[in-house]
Symmetry: C2
Subunit: 480 residues, 2 copies
């Protein structure tokens, strides 16, 4: 008989080591500003420190955990540093980490209602909470024809939206006969790359993806969209899906959802609204204009894991009519049949997503909404927008720089007027310094720096120092 004490980690050891890991994370948060934000290791440097072969016998947890500090930490780019201004952030927070820990400890699979009813019902409930919190239309509520589900990422939400759109457009023929190569999807030139990826995955083919031109603010031009849809219809193709973005990744541009929605309704196109980063701002009434026209949307997503203090992965995906989604994703083999499913009285979220298995992800979202309350979350958003607007004002006042796009919220796109090479040098110098981390995009054909204020602990002092460092580094480039 094996002795379980000598084999698995005992509850006592788990308690002791768990406290140590919690303490390490608390300390990490306290000292995160002392690390270079962007990791300085070279390719292969981490692997070179790992033993070639796995251990034959088990090792003590103390020994394993010591290697985190020694080997892993230098290879971390610190997304949780308040000096992280790159990409869009992946925010976390104390209550989110603890909610996720609880999910891990409970270790349930929420694929079916019956495999842990609380996992499904809390998710439905919290996603219903968010509908009025964000000023979204009632049709997205689970009590209407729609409903929400947590996906891992906005990429997966886009894919599910496209699959539901394909289902509706082909009246389920896609499942029986395959794609016929005539379904057309529409994005703007600024839409996130994940939608192009979804179009490839779903087998529509890149030739059937239309990237509509944008206006001077990098927002999709509805007139061009309408003309393209009509041309495609005339050519015998089947326009099927439009993705409008509220807050593009490149520049935070806001597509005109209401006008796009009118076109979609006229031509019976599925409208998906991707608000992955910016949706969180709609928690504040003054930013709810973001969701103007949302009554036209067939699906919608935003990512609490970006700006709403809930660690990855947590994308909230809504549909206005769940039947198309479920029809395209549901396959029910015998070994998953159960009374609750057959009764039709429950949601089985496996039919709302690509994978079968799913974690209890709503726990962290529930913890965050309750710990901060609506007012705490609003305060968080407002402060970040205020800081980004302050930064944009500094850029505007400095003749060496220009703003490259409007700044509706918390992302500032800016550049030196002196050209791509100088901007590249500036960015490299800043990122190599370790003091802050920002990334770039290309707008109007020009290299453009992006500074996004969205990390949980970013305060005024961090944004002020970022601007000081940018000015210093610019001076070192010989510009004064």
């Amino acid at each position: 008989m094996p002795d379980p004490e000598s084999f698995h980690m005992s509850p006592e050891e788990f308690r002791r080591q768990g406290h140590a890991v919690v303490d390490w994370i608390a300390d990490y948060c306290s000292r995160v500003e002392s690390f270079p934000v962007l990791s300085r290791v070279q390719p292969g440097e981490i692997r070179a420190q790992l033993p070639q072969h796995p251990p034959q016998q088990g090792e003590s947890f103390d020994r394993i955990f010591a290697d985190v500090e020694r080997i892993i930490l230098p290879g971390i780019t610190h997304w949780q540093s308040p000096n992280f201004f790159a990409y869009f952030p992946t925010s976390t927070s104390g209550p989110a980490i603890l909610g996720d820990l609880l999910s891990t400890g409970l270790g349930v699979q929420g694929m079916l209602w019956s495999t842990s009813p609380a996992c499904t019902e809390l998710e439905t409930h919290v996603l219903d909470w968010l509908v009025p919190m964000l000023g979204l239309p009632d049709k997205l509520l689970s009590s209407s024809s729609g409903g929400g589900v947590i996906q891992d990422a906005a990429s997966s939400a886009s894919l599910c939206a496209l699959l539901a759109a394909r289902e509706r457009a082909t009246q389920f023929a896609s499942n029986r006969k395959g794609c016929d190569g005539r379904l057309i999807a529409y994005i703007s030139t600024q839409t996130h790359s994940s939608v192009e990826k979804a179009v490839k995955i779903a087998g529509l083919g890149s030739d059937n993806l239309r990237a509509i031109e944008v206006d001077q603010n990098f927002a999709m031009r509805p007139d061009t969209l309408a003309r393209q849809v009509e041309a495609d219809e005339k050519a015998g193709l089947v326009p099927c899906f439009v993705c409008a973005t509220v807050g593009t990744t490149s520049s935070n541009a806001i597509d005109p959802v209401r006008e796009i929605g009118g076109i979609c309704r006229e031509h019976n196109l599925w409208l998906h609204v991707d608000s992955a980063m910016s949706g969180t701002a709609a928690l504040c009434p003054e930013f709810r204009f973001l969701h103007d026209g949302m009554e036209f949307a067939d699906s919608y997503c935003f990512n609490p894991h970006k700006w709403m203090l809930t660690n990855f992965d947590c994308d909230c995906f809504y549909v206005a009519d769940r039947k198309h989604l479920i029809r395209t994703l549901s396959v029910l083999p015998e070994y998953l049949r159960n009374q609750a499913t057959e009764s039709g009285a429950v949601i089985d979220y496996r039919d709302w997503q690509v994978p079968l298995g799913r974690r209890f992800r709503s726990l962290k979202l529930w913890f965050v909404i309750r710990y901060y309350g609506i007012e705490g979350l609003q305060r968080h958003v407002r402060e970040h927008v205020r800081l980004a607007q302050q930064f944009a004002a500094w850029v505007r006042e400095d003749a060496r720089f220009e703003l490259a796009a409007p700044v509706p919220l918390n992302l500032v796109c800016f550049r030196l007027r002196s050209g791509d090479a100088e901007n590249q040098k500036l960015m490299d110098q800043l990122n190599h310094s370790g003091d802050l981390y920002l990334t770039h995009t290309r707008l109007d054909g020009k290299m453009t720096l992006r500074l996004c204020v969205g990390q949980t602990h970013t305060e005024a002092r961090h944004v002020e120092r970022a601007w000081q460092r940018i000015q210093q580094a610019t001076a070192q480039l010989g510009q004064s």
Copy 2:
């Protein structure tokens, strides 16, 4: 200026509350056997206890956490109970929980090498470790043409395999022109439903999926496969993809990979081997026959989150030639460009999966392999196989029962000889008792009970008691 102390959880509070959550999990593990394994709540019962509106002001963590015990726990089906014998398990363990906690605390995005080099390099390294650990062919190593990546679930692995197969079969035409409705995929009648779902998602169409008949052991018949492939070729269709399963969900049947592989090679079909549950057994040399013929595989997956003590989500997915996978899934917009990617010297795992974002999931796998060592993991597998074989022997000796399928490893498919209604009654009575949880399938047209020994803390006493309870309940049905 906001005062961060009054707004976010302070490091001190995180430490205190984190210890409390760790203690709760340790206690949960100690008392998990005291709960009914299958939750007894009715649909809507959990939601009815949740307030209709989210809180305006934040609440204390103590208050939030108290609701876990009060509201959530009764709605949990206890996957971490040693009396959980249903479906396939989702194992976890102390080191895995702590590795995942660390991943949550670090909060990095591993989408690109540069966004946290350690996240990518540890994943590559640990997945390379597993290749010889499981007796898999060298071509799956990252140092050859292939490599491994962690997916959330085997469903996603199947989808990625199918997409790579589609890419290879169409020489990238699928991305340009869409599916042409002529690509054919092959599974057996026993293949997991996720492959049918993948075929729908990828737009091949269900009409282009062939479910090949199985032999008396529920394994795919290679002769039938060969005939079907030839018929499809003659009909001008394009056979493209075969999924062979090593350990089906329904009955743990093992498809003859070597023979299927020969057919795939002859007809240039992509062979994906799904070993989600059973792959872990190949840690033991005596079970490595499972991977016989794996040199024919183009892709392979197994789930450490099923039987290798690593909590969900952790599916290890390998390809023999990574270029097809990357070509079908890579889209590189300007805002993701960086020097390391352009150098070609690094892996960017976003190109190996559907979503863009990704957690640092290899930490938990690294912790598990090191904490248990190869010998500890082997001991775990051997004990579960021994217990399942013991259970199968008891079934065999009881004239009221029959085994419904061979028992190669740790899943026992059995039934009362007295018919479906009696088996349904037996299962319902056992599951409603709360003493254990098992689920069913249908084999040879008959309702069949499945008992899988795979939960981390399942020991001899649990399996013995399960058999006693089954005998008792059978007697209560009036059978003696």
